[in-house]
Amino acid sequence: MAHPSAGMVGSFRHLDSLLEAISRLRGAGYRDLQALSPVPHHAIDEALEKPPSPVRVFTLIGCLLGATTGFVLTIASSLHYPLIVGGKPIISFPPFLIIVFELTILFGGLLTLGGMLLNARLPRVHVVPAYDPRFSEDRFGLWVRCAVSDFDAVTRLLKGADAEEVRRVGE
């Protein structure tokens, strides 16, 4: 078996050529693509047709956890110190909802950050072998992970979409 990161990297001068290469490779059945771009661009997301980000599940769990914590914290502490203030009931929701809201946002935000780092595998000590400093400057890269036997076909597809340069990585 080849190395999991084995594949070909094409570099492109123009965004349009990158998008063209993505659509040709996807058309030929190559799904494991990763774009390396100096600037974020919505057209790349659309071309790659990635499924919705899994981070939103983390956000939802964080929010639900935060809301629960808020209710438990406020209700339990009021029951532990049952002081009647201003003639209000011991458990009175109007002020509790503020704490509930704050903790919902806090936990949701923290878990979103955590989920983002986890899913993006950050912080990253080693750069991926497909990376090239030019991909942070003025070139777009497309990393196609594929079997060694497909290298020639992928090279042809990349060149056909006007790739300036195609190289192998991670054998």
Binding site: H14, D16, H42, P52, R56, G86, P94, P95, I98
Partner: protein, 420 residues
């Protein structure tokens, strides 16, 4: 990828003459019902007139404030949405004119308030309220119209230079003393900068006064210092909801200028303001709840727990806050025009009910809420006037604003096109 600039001017307007005629018909119905109502029951007529005045004028102003914020922060995500917001300024002069007859109604309401609570004195004299309200609304209208004028001028001038549309006195007036694209673009940028800031500074002040004078003061004893903030945030929320309705209608008909992504972004913004609006409501409620002073609580208790208003208030909260919150949690819903259209209409309807329960319970003391042909007719009239003036704007001006002058938007080396 880029639509040609010229196409924006030569494409037909999305507003059909039939739609304009229906709006005109609604307006005629509204005027007839209003006159009949003034003869039959002036107090009831003026209170629904006030509700609708606070609703439709605020909707238009909220949308213009959105356009001003869009300009001030240098946003780039939805130029057609900015233009659609600017267009609602077309209703502002009409709304200002509709404020003038309201003097008779204010006189009626504040006579009673002064009798019940004479300590309020001259500050809440109906004449003083009318004059300061008129000054505030007048200056907001002038600022908003000039802001939109500066946004339209370079585009109208450039289109006239190329003969893209037949000359018309409106275009001639807007592009009067034209000095060429380059000069005009720079001038328009400066003008918009100053006027957008002006609109944003005048807006909270004017709308705080509107909230205090035209809603809060109707109750002889109630006060809440946060009410102004609540009202202008609610108004901005209303403006965004109105914009969402228009944008989703155009997106549903497949207008080339509006993308799914822009609709989704507008949905996210609206979602944020659902929470902001709820927070403004809550921060007032909690202070009143804590203090538990009868002169503060009676206003809330009457609206939330006493028939016939309780049902209406809770419906307003469900329509303007709870349901939109649940719907907007879904990303797909925010990018789906029919759902966005329905949610925009839901919020708009909820906020109409909100204005209704803010105003009417202070003035109406019967067992049942006043709602019949009179209320429907007056509301239809306002809807017609707002739709007609907005339709007029959309017939004369394209929905996609100019990013840069066509000369500046010439192809860059490498085939890319400069595009906002």
């Amino acid at each position: 990828m880029a639509e040609r600039w010229e196409d924006r001017w030569t494409q037909p307007s999305p507003v059909s003459p039939g739609l304009m005629r229906s709006c005109f018909g609604l307006m005629a119905v509204g005027v007839a019902v209003l006159l009949a109502g003034l003869v039959a029951d002036p107090a009831r007529t003026w209170q629904i007139y006030l509700v609708n005045f606070l609703y439709w004028g605020a909707l238009a102003q909220g949308a213009v404030v959105f356009a001003a914020i869009y300009h001030v922060v240098g946003a780039k995500w939805g130029p057609p949405i900015r233009r659609l917001g600017e267009g609602m300024a077309a209703f502002l002069p009409v709304s200002f004119l509709l404020f003038l007859p309201l003097y008779a109604g204010l006189d009626l309401f504040f006579d009673r308030v002064q009798q019940l609570n004479p300590q309020r004195g001259a500050w809440f004299d109906s004449r003083f309220i009318f004059v300061r309200g008129g000054l505030g609304l007048g200056s907001m209208t002038v600022l908003s119209l000039f802001f939109v004028y500066y946004s339209l001028r370079p585009e109208v001038g450039a289109a006239l230079e190329r003969g893209l549309r037949a000359r018309h006195w409106v275009y001639g007036w807007i592009a009067d003393a034209w000095q060429g694209e380059r000069v005009e673009m720079a001038r328009s940028e400066r003008g918009m900068e100053v006027l957008a800031t002006g609109v944003l500074l005048a807006y909270p002040i004017t709308y705080t006064f509107m909230a205090f004078d035209l809603i809060m003061a109707l109750d002889p004893f109630w006060y809440s210092s946060l009410f102004g903030g609540y009202f202008f945030i609610g108004t901005f929320y209303l403006g965004l909801a109105g914009l969402t309705v228009v944008v989703s209608l155009l997106a549903r008909r497949g207008h080339p200028g509006i993308t799914t992504r822009q609709l989704g972004d507008l949905g996210r913004l609206l979602f944020g303001f659902t929470l902001t609006y709820a927070a403004m409501l809550w921060s007032q409620y909690i202070v009143i709840w804590y203090g538990n002073l009868p002169e503060e609580t009676h206003f809330v208790v009457l609206r939330l727990w006493k028939p016939p208003w309780a049902t209406l208030s809770w419906s307003a909260l469900v329509a303007a806050i709870f349901l939109p919150f649940v719907i907007f949690l879904s990303r797909k819903a925010k990018e789906h025009p029919p759902i966005m259209l329905a949610t925009g209409l839901l919020i708009a309807a909820g906020l109409w009910l909100e204005r209704y329960v803010l105003v009417v319970p202070s003035l109406w003391h019967d067992e049942t809420a006043p709602f019949g042909w009179l209320e429907i007719g007056v509301t239809a009239g306002f809807l017609g006037a707002a739709g007609w003036s907005y339709g007029l704007f959309l017939r004369y001006f394209p929905i996609l604003p100019l990013a840069r002058t066509p000369a500046a938007a010439a192809p860059l080396p490498g085939g890319a096109t400069a595009h906002e």
